[in-house]
Symmetry: C2
Subunit: 285 residues, 2 copies
Amino acid sequence: MAAPELISPRSPRVVAARRLARRNFRVKERRFIAEGPQAVREAVEHRGDGGRPTLIELFATAEAMERYADIVAAARATGARIHPAADEVVAGISQTVTPQGLVGVCGFLDRPFEEIIKARPRLVAVLAHVRDPGNAGTVLRCADAAGADAVVLTDASVDLYNPKTVRASVGSVFHLPVAVGVPVEQAVRGLRAAGSRIVAADGSGERDLDTELDEGVLGRPTVWIFGNEAWGLPEETRALADEVVRVPLHGRAESLNLATAAAVCLYASARAQRAPGGCRSVTSS
Amino acid sequence: MAAPELISPRSPRVVAARRLARRNFRVKERRFIAEGPQAVREAVEHRGDGGRPTLIELFATAEAMERYADIVAAARATGARIHPAADEVVAGISQTVTPQGLVGVCGFLDRPFEEIIKARPRLVAVLAHVRDPGNAGTVLRCADAAGADAVVLTDASVDLYNPKTVRASVGSVFHLPVAVGVPVEQAVRGLRAAGSRIVAADGSGERDLDTELDEGVLGRPTVWIFGNEAWGLPEETRALADEVVRVPLHGRAESLNLATAAAVCLYASARAQRAPGGCRSVTSS
């Protein structure tokens, strides 16, 4: 079989895809990059408004076309444009050392905050001042794993479509509704009106997570607000919450990192909400 | 006051300290590097066998000597040699961009495995196949935060004294006893004989963490074995455990990363062991 003709590195398609490494181009085009077979597979299956496929274009090396023939075929079936490309072209778009030969151009997939509220979610993670893209992606992955119904990135948090965020989410960016750019006051007001209790996670909290579990309050619909690892949450954000809760530090560590603290909080909620006999939620409302 | 004379970049002390970036030199000298004021402060307070101070030498820029005068004075009081040094010298030893002007040379502080067993620990984290130094440090920090009595790094895991491990532990390397280089079979045998139940954390586990909590078994002295994020634990390591347990994935995420999974497991144990009324541990032994 003849090798497919490779797209030129100077093609407008390649140039446009490479530009998506920069936030202003992402916002302008409302597109972002998904790297590697796992993320591309998720993108292929994802649908946006009106059933519109999220994957728009796929750049693939000859080796990847063969190895991931199923993904490429599925991408083609959704109407995505497939571009056979040289290794350097794929690597140049993804800006990673090992994109495994596949990068996809995807349409933005964040959901309107109103839609999230209307679904009356039982567990939501609000990322209020998260500046590190890797941390944001990892917390998104934890929220997904813990069965959260949605994630909100406030206007003071990192960009959802930063390649490092997408990568660290390990596919979770495609798994649950995410709203972006919502001011934290609006997020809290809207979610509280939808029936949730608002809990700010902060090392300075007077209550600890064990007290929350003992009192059975985590069985209720809950919104966790997470902040920046180094700073915690600013006073004005803590003041918006119904409760400021810390993860107890039993040993001599002075803190946990953001992702591990978020995992402990979100899994405490998951358990309290799912195992009625588990954590004294007999006393919960 | 006259500025103190700076140590020469070609001084044998500087050359010896720089070499500690490499494992073979660390093992030969039984010394490692602690970077930045927080880690150096911990090192100053730490004592090894027979009360021997862990901090041996301190390299400090003129600015750091002034800003962290309390740390420098405390270091001097323990008998550590203080070397005023140029910024480049401090940065060269630490290999980080921002060591904040302080790097310390410390003696190894791992403890004999026998000593850990004799203390009959109630909660231990065994890092069995952890290859990423940052992950190892983060799990160490989580174990400290969750109140674990000890950590064991098996012979198949990353070096405790890798600068990235020390850095990611955020001081926890100085907080709790750590044994290194123990074959996993020996770790399991010794800790089981000391009264612990052995639980391997692995995504393939047939039991999930909620079942463990429901049955109250986590109230007992527990050893958690954690493996490599990508591979999980090999079959022969899982076979050593009394139980293989997975963190439940309620959403669509296919896995958690090692540090977040370890945090959820260790905090589940901490709660079960510390809050007798909390998680049905009325039924535990």
